[in-house]
């Protein structure tokens, strides 16, 4: 069956370091992969989209990689700040009729 895995445990990172979040998937061949940020009590907010033929995408302090061989995406936040603390969701275009399928998210905590 299709599965998207993100670290269920909270990730604690010291301010100024690079935070790296992982999204692994099985039984998908997504053409697109997206990352969202969700703050408590708010809806998810889109951050980055990467296509299957793109290895890497950057936006300011954010970087996403997409390895279709490993079936994995990595999401990096460089020079992390306490304001980056949130839950980060990856989402795949699964090739079916439903559009995006979301992972359960990883809670990131940046400690001052």
């Amino acid at each position: 069956s299709q599965k998207i895995e993100q670290n269920s445990e909270a990730l604690n990172i010291q301010e100024g370091k690079t935070a790296t979040l992982t999204c692994n998937y099985t039984n998908y061949s997504p053409a697109y992969l997206q990352w969202y940020r969700q703050d408590p009590g708010r809806g998810p907010v889109f951050l980055l989209l990467i296509r299957e033929n793109e290895k890497e995408k950057r936006k300011e302090r954010l970087k996403v990689t997409f390895d279709t061989t490993l079936k994995q995406s990595l999401f990096h936040i460089t020079a992390s700040q306490p304001a980056d603390s949130a839950t980060y969701l990856c989402a795949l275009e699964g090739g079916g009729a439903d559009g995006l399928t979301f992972g359960k998210g990883t809670h990131l905590i940046i400690q001052p």
């Binding site: 053409a31 708010r42 809806g43 998810p44 907010v45 275009e93 559009g99 399928t101 992972g103």
Partner: protein, 113 residues
């Protein structure tokens, strides 16, 4: 430009009551979605629409109905609420179906007693 607006923000219902959740978007998006988010389960798709007058079932459609009479509005109905439907409900819209970002509202927190 409000984006995606959901009403109400909070609601408490008794088992067996009915209600409609409203979603409005002002971005002229063709695609609209209803999700529920439960602890440990992530976002799960309930129903979606690929254009005005169309609806389709998602992953967890049972107990819900939807309508898209106007392009900018997508309504989610609970005909006979059950405690298992206690959740946070999110509406989203997008230009494309999987290949474009989805824009989310801030959710409706629904408790069924």
């Amino acid at each position: 430009n409000a984006g995606v607006t959901q009403t109400p923000k909070f609601r408490v219902l008794k088992t067996g009551q009915s209600m409609t959740l409203l979603c409005a978007q002002d971005m002229n998006h063709e695609y609209m979605y209803w999700y529920r988010q439960d602890p440990g389960m992530g976002l799960r798709l309930i129903h979606y629409s690929v254009g005005e007058g169309t609806t389709a079932k998602g992953e967890v459609p049972d107990g819900y109905n939807v309508s898209r009479l106007k392009k900018q509005n997508f309504l989610l109905g609970l005909e006979s609420a059950a405690p298992s439907q206690t959740s946070v409900y999110f509406c989203a819209s997008s230009l494309g179906h999987g290949n474009q970002p989805q824009h989310f509202g801030d959710g409706t927190r629904l408790s069924i007693l």
